[in-house]
Amino acid sequence: MATPIIELKSVGKSFRAADGTARAALEGVDFTLHEGEIVALLGQSGSGKSTLLRIMAGLIPADGGDVHYRGMPLYGPARSIAMVFQSFALFPWLTVQKNVELGLEAQGVAPEERARRAQAAIELIGLSGFEGALPRELSGGMRQRVGIARALVLEPEVLLMDEAFSALDVLTGEKLREDILALWESGQLPTKAMLVVSHNIEEAVMMADRVLIFASGPGRIRAELPVALARPRAVEGSDVRALIDDVYGQMTAGAARPGRVAEKEAKLQLGDRLPEADVARMEGVLEVLMEEPFKGRADLPKLAEDTELTDNELLHISSALALLGLAQLDRGDMAITPLGEHYVNANNSERQALFGRQVLEHVPLIAYIRHGLEQDPSGDLPRDLFLKLLRFTLNETDAAQALRTAIEWGRYGDVFEYNFNNGVIHLPDEEKLMEE
């Protein structure tokens, strides 16, 4: 067994919500990063994978459990753990050279030594000639190269990458990823281990020796997949495709409670998160699913490619479709249901009516809002009431997200209407008139 570098033992983290109660973001995470490996953390947004990365970076302290670096307890950012950020986090007023030198300067390295080492890192990452440029003069890909050079110049043992390629376009991201992997394979990097946080499944499978899949609410490791393929790996290779399929299957496997593998979606509760899916996209995906070449059944990775949606977006949409009974998820495949077929063939007003019926039946939050409106003599209720209710089970962003989805779906299904200006949810106007 390789030497462990970072060890986490039953790490937990909770954040204080607006009403003062604690919300668990991470719970009981056990994880060890060994020398010589690349590990990818995969999970939907809000599953706590970024929180875990930040705990390892020493940026936020864990509430429970132990964090050890080389057997020592970790209380803050360590010198030999460097990080690459999603938004690059370059200092826009410093030149490329100065940005790369930042960490060395902070350690008090002499100017000549600093310049020499920065120069070497800049050359390694392919930025020669840009030393004097300001970050704003560079394209996104070049900026992230600066971000990587800034981390590498410190010769860190561990390199943490927080969605490092997700702000780049696909082509640039792939190129940068390949360059990093080539450096890693050639042994030119001083780094002994890398941890990559991502929500791009292909990226994770292409890079990592191990893929950890995160479950949300609260965040914990749901599954671990070893990737025993030699690098460089070909995206189109059958073993890579099979792995990607496998990961998709794991990620769409519903909200499994710990100790229980749920293939079918568990029954949604009133205070649960709702998928971040807008109606137009859901309809779009459903229509693509019906057409050639899928004809009602599709491999999720293929569907992602075809619809040009990111993994994250497609996962939200597919779970939304499954939730409403318009499609079914089965080991990384999505199949349209008879109801879904009926939906695609219907005209606009029929679609809306059908959609309304489905959300009332399957989304407890929407049914609950409707119930409240019908009971209220004025037929309207402030949105904040429901937001407060959701905050008992969800954190601030998730609560707002769930309510936003509920309002959009409710509006489209003509279940209720919402006035943004005064923040009031009310029954559709024509129904109100009828009642009076």
């Binding site: 970076a57 020493g58 307890p73 360590a78 990080m83 986090a89 300067e105 350690q107």
Partner: protein
């Protein structure tokens, strides 16, 4: 050839410099001589009661301008230092922040002249037998017109540093000192500079009052443009006022060209949006300085010094050290601190009650509140009228990009120009036509601050997305509908920003505008501004304090209940 060099003194060989150096040399020398002379004059002996000779001869104006400029500079430097310290402390210590930020809110709403009347005797006592004491009082008054909003903007800047940049600073082990210079200050600089320019206008406006100090029947006039104007007003000399206006124009122009333009152009690199934008400021002086070897050497020297300080003040341990271990969080000190604050507030309330009860009387306090209401109604009506005039004009200008650029610069310049120079003209007119001062003095309050409305509206109108403009044209929106559905909502956020600045300035200006003199003629409008001005002239401290206190309450209440809400409305709903 090269070996021979060692026989000559190094400066002769390597003095070098390019043609830009030679051109800059006389400028630098002249500047140094002027500064030395002005500074020497500031610290000369002075006895209380002594009259400093001043004359209305226009040939003295350059010298007066120099003295005034020097004061402004010192005040500006002090404000800068204060802002940085304030922001660094308030952003770092939560317990300090709890007191400091509300305190700043209050200080911001205290009329500038209030500070002068309260602090002048203290400063004079600080340097007995020297003019420096009076100078300090004047500089402090200018400082108070600049420091608060600069400090606020710096604090905002420090607090809003993007989270990822903060995390990067932590991961790369920057110490507090390094973070301040490398991250927080650079991030805050654009806002700080913008507020500095705004403050400068305020400084010019109050230079008259701060140089001609009349307090407790002492009448001290420091040499400067402000005193020159005061003297001209006493002597009813309109042509001298004309000269003063001219000198002031030159002063504002010089400040703009030699100080703010280069600074703004330099600060362009601190803009945070990472995409390049073409709205960069240009400055001939900065270009010149950047091409000059000697100044570049100076800058590099400063940078080296800073970097050396970085290696001195660095973090000596990282997150694996026992020293990073977080102390057990304890709520007790925070509770105690809260209790101390609460006790202080209770004591202050009691002291206030006692003060009003024994020193001024409740009826006086009620009267001042009524006077405050008068001034409040003036401010509201004037802002409304100004909006009625400037919104259509501003929108029209803003929709013509080429015109907007030029007018924008002029409006900024006008905002910096002290409007109180126009006051004597108003007095002459009001006296001549026997007009009611309660009505006709009011416009003076907004004379200087209306420009903020104008250039914010212009800015708002010029940022309306082109597609929206085409859409409005395409749908044939005309008349009132066009204003209600398209133009007014589009400019609303920037209008609110402008109106906040304009009302703040108007409250401040009311002290000067409701109580105007021209020789022996003094016109007075009923209002809290004239109350404060009158009490300052008599030297009645309890009543000055009462007036200032009530005005601060009005300003804060107005900000809290009106502007903050409108601002939030604009932020939430009416933006692109």
């Amino acid at each position: 050839m090269s070996e021979n060099k060692q026989f000559f003194p190094r400066p002769v060989i390597e003095a070098g410099g390019n043609r830009w150096d030679w051109a800059l040399l006389p400028l630098v020398l002249a500047l140094l001589v002027l500064l030395a002379y002005g500074a020497q004059q500031m610290a000369r002996p002075f006895q209380l009661g002594e009259v400093i000779p001043l004359s209305l001869d226009p040939s003295n104006l350059p010298y007066y301008l120099l003295r005034t400029t020097l004061r402004m500079f010192i005040a500006l430097a002090a404000s800068m230092l204060f802002s940085c310290l304030f922001a660094a402390i308030a952003a770092k210590y939560r317990s300090a922040e709890k007191v400091m930020v509300p305190l700043l809110d209050i200080l911001q709403s205290i009329p500038i002249l209030g500070f002068l009347s309260i602090t002048v005797s203290g400063f004079i006592a600080l340097f007995p037998g020297n003019l420096l004491g009076v100078e300090c009082a004047a500089i402090f008054a200018i400082f108070t017109s600049q420091a608060w909003n600069m400090a606020f903007s710096a604090y905002q800047g420090f607090r809003t540093v993007p989270a990822e940049l903060m995390e990067a600073a932590q991961v790369f082990q920057l110490s507090g000192w390094q973070r301040f210079w490398r991250l927080e200050l650079p991030f805050a600089i654009p806002g700080l500079l913008w507020n500095m320019m705004m403050s400068m206008s305020g400084g010019w406006f109050f230079v008259v009052a701060s140089e001609a100090i009349s307090v407790s029947n002492q009448n001290i006039k420091l040499p400067g443009i402000g005193s020159y104007i005061a003297l001209a007003i006493e002597a009813r000399d309109l042509s001298a006022i004309g000269w003063a206006i001219g000198a002031m124009l030159v002063g504002v122009l010089l400040y703009d060209q030699l100080f703010f333009r280069p600074l703004l152009a330099w600060a362009d690199k601190f803009r945070f949006e990472e995409t390049g934008s073409d709205t960069a400021q240009a400055s001939w002086l900065l270009t010149w300085l950047r091409r000059t070897e000697k100044t570049q050497g100076l800058v590099a020297g400063f940078a080296r010094l800073l970097e050396r300080s970085f290696s001195l003040f660095r973090r000596s341990y990282d997150g694996t050290s026992i020293r990073s271990r977080p102390a057990l969080p304890s709520a007790l000190p925070e509770r105690i601190w809260d209790a101390v604050i609460a006790a202080a507030v209770f004591y202050a309330c009691w002291a206030l009650f006692h003060f009003i009860h024994s020193e001024v009387g409740w009826s006086e306090a009620a009267r001042v509140v009524v006077l405050g209401l008068y001034t409040l109604s003036r401010v509201i009506i004037l802002i409304f009228l100004a909006a009625l005039i400037w919104i259509p004009i501003g929108v029209w200008i803003g929709l013509n990009p080429r015109l907007a650029e030029r007018v924008q610069a002029v409006a900024q310049f006008l905002a910096a120009f002290p409007a109180n120079l126009m006051f004597p003209v108003a007095v002459v007119v009001i006296v001549k036509y026997h007009l009611n001062p309660d009505i006709w003095l009011s416009p003076l309050m907004i004379l200087g601050t209306q420009w903020y409305l104008l250039f914010n509206v212009i800015a708002g109108a010029s940022t309306i997305p082109t597609e929206l403009r085409y859409a409005a044209k395409n749908f044939g929106l005309t008349g009132w509908l066009k204003w209600r559905r398209y133009l007014l909502p589009a400019i609303f956020p920037s209008f609110v920003t402008g109106a906040i600045t304009a009302t703040g300035g108007s409250w401040n200006a009311s002290i000067v505008a409701e109580y105007v003199s021209w020789g022996d003629t003094t016109l007075q409008a009923h209002g809290i501004g004239s109350y404060i001005a009158e009490m300052t002239a008599i030297g009645d401290f309890p009543r000055i304090a009462l007036g200032i206190g009530v005005m601060s309450v009005f300003v804060m209440g107005f900000n809290h209940f009106v502007w903050r809400r409108l601002y939030r409305l604009a932020e939430n709903r009416l933006h692109f």
